[in-house]
Symmetry: C2
Subunit: 98 residues, 2 copies
DNA sequence: GGGCCGCTCTGCTGTGAGCGGAACGCCGCA
DNA sequence: TGCGGCGTTCCGCTCACAGCAGAGCGGCCC
């Protein structure tokens, strides 16, 4: 169960990047609006850093998201993750098909 | 919108405490199962510390929760928060009634 | 080939995560 | 009523890391 889930920072980071790209924005644009460095936003998106609560608020705010929007989206991502895990997905099967 | 929401660490901490108490557990019990100090768990629950992703996983795991359970619960909490805010709740009105 | 752009890498410093010992309040019992 | 135990919080500490500035890398265009 919990062994198979991503860590919080990976889950969060992936969603933030997906949303930023969906908005057609560059790292520097979103970072500037959030008041953080582009380097740092890159790290957060790649799950390399643990953002503080204030940073989470600033970055999601810059993407026009409330914490509610964010947690709902993360729940969706985790559901998809569980569904994928339940489908007995095997990377080696894909490699052989390619 | 985002101005009126709680910070992530407060949101998370409140839910973890509520769930622990709902399980009828003491700080020390849950902390031991999570492999953290009781002092630290107390701090996390009160939103005084920013737990790392591994700590979030350990504590929620100790409460029998997946990250999905957790994010769903947090979304519910935020919805309640927004509903309360939308009802034009006024602390001073309550104080006068008491 | 050089400049520009977008993103990532590298190294740094001050801050805070996580914890051990102590303190506090509450409760039950002799 | 004083004491011990329990549950939680306070306090101070150390070292890891959050957040960032400068540099590096690859791609694209003139």
């Amino acid at each position: 169960m919990t062994d198979l889930e991503p860590l919080w920072r990976h889950l969060l980071g992936r969603r933030l990047r997906v949303l930023r790209l969906a908005h057609g924005e560059k790292l520097a644009e979103t970072a500037a609006r959030a008041g953080v460095s582009p380097q740092y936003l890159s790290e957060v998106e790649r799950g390399l850093k643990e953002p503080s609560s204030e940073m989470i608020a600033a970055i999601s705010g810059a993407l026009g998201l409330s914490l509610l929007d964010l947690t709902l989206g993360l729940s969706d991502d985790l559901r998809s993750f569980h569904e994928l895990a339940a489908s007995d997905y095997r990377p080696s099967a894909l490699l052989m098909a390619a």
